[in-house]
């Protein structure tokens, strides 16, 4: 079976508070599910690889086909854990290595 292509995204969370990993995941899944439904969300193959609470950076993996819909879902996040927030895509890469380097900077 042909392996589906994936993209890794480095995300920056912009918020007044310090959201936890669970809060972020709930917001991301909630937004994708609201916009595309459970069937659409399942096609995204969303996986959280790393979350840094101090820098508010997250590293996630999505399938290439779902990259643009996932970006749209992230753009529509306005609240995380009942606090105003925004999620910005810092970088998109086909390999995890370059994103880890960027996240470390």
């Amino acid at each position: 079976m042909k392996r589906s292509k994936r993209r890794y995204l480095l995300l920056q969370i912009d918020s007044d508070g310090a959201p936890s990993q669970r809060d972020f995941l709930d917001a991301a899944w909630g937004s994708v599910t609201k916009l595309y439904g459970e069937s659409g969300a399942s096609c995204a193959s969303l996986l959280l690889i790393n979350f840094d609470e101090d820098t508010k950076k997250a590293l996630v993996r999505v399938s290439l086909d779902a990259l643009q819909p996932f970006r749209a879902s992230l753009a529509l996040i306005t609240r995380i854990a009942d606090r105003e927030a925004a999620v910005h895509v810092v970088k998109v890469s086909g390999t995890i290595k370059s994103l880890r380097e960027k996240a470390a900077r």
Partner: protein
């Protein structure tokens, strides 16, 4: 060549320079190179200068914009006559069909927008689109309602925009995607705005053009027209006097 990203509708309060500076710094960090701020004709010159200074300090190209909300066709013509040479971008928020038709025909209008959630006053039908196509105006979509609306209200909004986008595509109307926000946390990167456009059927490349190529070309065209040597498109006075 690297794209210059533009937001032609960033609402700033000229009386609160500290907050305006924060929003402009944020816009610069998100990758915007050009920002248009609606400034009312009664705003003091000093307040306007303050915003221009902040834009310079964060390396953003400032564009002056005015939103016209005329009630009648004559009122619109009057406002255009008074303000066209004072602003780089003129947007007409169409309150009724008569004004919408006039705005579409008038070559002094740069952007046409419709009230976001008042569906009875969204006049982008085939006749309107045909008029816009024959003029110079572009259709502006603010992304703010996507963030503020939820549930069935957002679904209806997306559905309306999708229908209107399809008409706009058929008539090759240029489309401009702007934020229309006044809060830091509602600002999004240009590529994220372009991704949102996928919700109403725009392809990635045309969505990216709507946040870069189209708005930048409107500003460039108007700056050329407002320049002192402009005679007609493509004709500019280079030198005048007895020694010519």
């Amino acid at each position: 060549m690297k794209r210059v990203f533009a937001d032609l509708h960033l609402r700033l309060n000229p009386n609160d320079p500290a907050y305006a500076a924060r929003i402009l710094i944020k816009a610069a960090s998100l990758g915007y190179g050009l920002v248009a701020v609606p400034i009312s004709p009664i705003t003091h010159m000093q307040d306007r200068e303050k915003i221009i200074e902040i834009c310079k300090s964060v390396n953003i190209d400032f564009v002056s914009r005015v939103n016209l909300q005329a009630r009648t066709r004559d009122q619109l013509m009057n406002q255009l006559r008074k303000l066209r040479r004072k602003y780089e971008v003129i947007c007409v928020s169409c309150e009724n069909r008569q004004v919408a038709r006039q705005a579409a025909k008038d070559r002094r209008v740069d952007l046409i927008s419709f009230p976001s959630v008042d569906y009875s006053r969204r006049f982008l039908d085939k006749s309107e689109a045909e008029l816009i196509h024959s003029g110079l105006a572009a259709w502006e979509i603010d992304t703010k309602p996507f963030f503020l609306l939820e549930g069935p209200a957002r679904t209806r909004f997306i559905s309306t925009i999708r229908r209107e986008t399809s008409i706009a595509k058929d008539f090759e109307i240029p489309l401009v995607l702007s934020s229309g926000v006044s809060s830091e946390l509602l600002l999004r990167k240009p590529r994220e705005i372009a991704a949102l456009a996928g919700l109403f059927g725009l392809t990635e490349s045309s969505a990216l053009d709507s946040v870069s190529k189209v708005p930048v070309s409107i500003v460039r065209r108007n700056r050329e027209k407002l320049g002192s040597g402009f005679v007609a498109p493509g004709i500019t006075v280079l030198k005048e006097g007895n020694d010519c």
